[in-house]
């Protein structure tokens, strides 16, 4: 297959970037978008030009490292799935493909298509964990958990932290990410002791990072490669109001 590419090139965090045109002829239809970029990069190297910088790791949709906006959609037009799971056969032969980084102020561009998503790590550091005694794994059924809660918790825990929710949100809000991280612990007995503090600190950290605010457009859940439902945002809102009430009662 043959493609015309327009790819965001930016030398470093401080310089201004722009879209640069590339021709990508003879691309196998079974190549993923990232493999197509690999092929283009090899050809650039042979010509002595600087290859396009982009992030990737597992290339099977489970690590959340790739972070490309393809033709105006986070992770490209084949939802659900990360950019590494987007195959070139999904495009028309001869199509122009525009690749940009995730554009969120809190995800500054480091180079070309590579962005810094440590803002998400700092939200998790604010409370997205359990301060539990370290030790060997406990007996599997020592804490009974209803099936429904376990399933719901697992759905939230499927978040791979790629940041596509914030990238796709018209307001660059990271609510879906934060909601998933708050919810998967709030649904389990292990998360119960720190439930109040967790949601308040994580929302505070999210706000402090400069993300936008959720306006319930549900664009996030439409692009989420892990299919996290926006109803977890409603859960986050519930958790937050409960926590505010508990704190006002002095708990």
């Amino acid at each position: 297959m043959n493609f015309k590419l327009r790819i965001w090139r930016q030398r470093d965090a401080k310089s201004r970037g722009k879209l640069v045109k590339y021709d990508a002829p003879d691309i196998p239809a079974q190549a993923s978008l990232l493999e197509m970029l690999d092929i283009v990069n090899e050809r650039l190297l042979l010509r002595g030009e600087e290859p396009i910088a982009f992030d990737s790791d597992c290339r099977e949709g489970i690590c959340g490292t790739c972070s490309l906006t393809v033709n105006g959609e986070a992770h490209g037009p084949d939802h659900p799935g990360a950019a590494c799971e987007l195959y070139m056969r999904k495009f028309r032969d001869g199509e122009t493909i525009i690749v940009e980084p995730f554009r969120v102020k809190s995800f500054p561009v480091i180079k070309d298509l590579v962005i810094d998503r440590s803002a998400l790590d700092r939200i998790v550091q604010a409370g997205g964990f359990i301060s539990a005694r370290a030790g060997s794994a406990p007996e599997a059924n020592s804490i009974p958990i209803p099936k429904h809660d376990a399933d719901l918790s697992m759905e939230a825990a499927a978040c791979i932290g790629c940041g596509a929710c914030a990238a796709a949100c018209p307001n660059a809000s990271a609510m879906l990410f934060t909601a998933a991280k708050v919810s998967h612990l709030a649904l389990l007995p292990q998360g119960e002791p720190e439930r109040t503090k967790r949601v308040v600190s994580m929302v505070q950290a999210m706000d402090a990072e400069g993300f936008g605010n959720c306006t319930n457009t549900y664009e996030c859940e439409a692009v989420c490669p892990a299919e996290i439902s926006a109803s977890f945002i409603a859960k986050l809102n519930r958790e937050y109001s409960k926590a505010s009430l508990r704190r006002s009662a002095g708990e």
Binding site: V200, A205, G212, N213, C214, T217, A222, S229, S231, A234
Partner: protein
Amino acid sequence: MIDQKSEPQSAAAATVRTKPRGLISDFCHSSVGRKMIVAVTGVILILFVIGHLLGNLQIFLGPEWINAYSQHLRDLGPLLWLIRAFLLTTVILHIYFTILLAIENRRARPERYIDRQYVKASWASRHMVVSGLVVLAFIIFHLLHFTGRKFNPQFPLLKLDPLNRYDVYSMMVYGFQNVYVSSFYIVGLFLLTLHLTHGSSSFFQSLGLNNQRLTPRLAIGGRILAWLLFIGYTSIPIAVLLGFIKPAQQL
């Protein structure tokens, strides 16, 4: 290699507050809390819009009904002013917090996407500020028009009805006989309807009063409510323009 020193710095970790700045203040400064204020004030305004329509539809029952209704409202005296003050406060809070959120949302994405496609976010959900501001302009005009009795040369000439009540019936008919005025009402109501197609289900999400099963049903219900309101409200100027309703007194 990324140079540690040039890595984009975030002040977030340092600015996360460990001590509450006062619970109400904390709530009003958080993205989730602000959204809830917008949601609660929004619900109050939706209830007002429904009640206002039910009151106004009495025009189809004849002058006795609607004139008696407006006399009842006036007879409330100080209570009427209390209700007006409450509604005004609600509108101001709704707008104030929305604008605060909207400014943050703009700042959260300083560099726009060059190519942007929306998968799920509706036009109405992405243009709440614009539709809201047009509705605000409409409300101001509407209050000056029918409460302040401006813009219409016939209003000062209106006599009291046979039971010595203000003839609201004839005022509405003369007011809507002007095609330009009626058109502006219909445009204003159309924008209000768009605002409510998103707003009337969005508040369930902001207040955490939904789940995965309810959300799509609420979205449909919200759209139906918004369009029913549109049909109900616009039926009045359209009935007047088509001559189905004639003034109770000739001037």
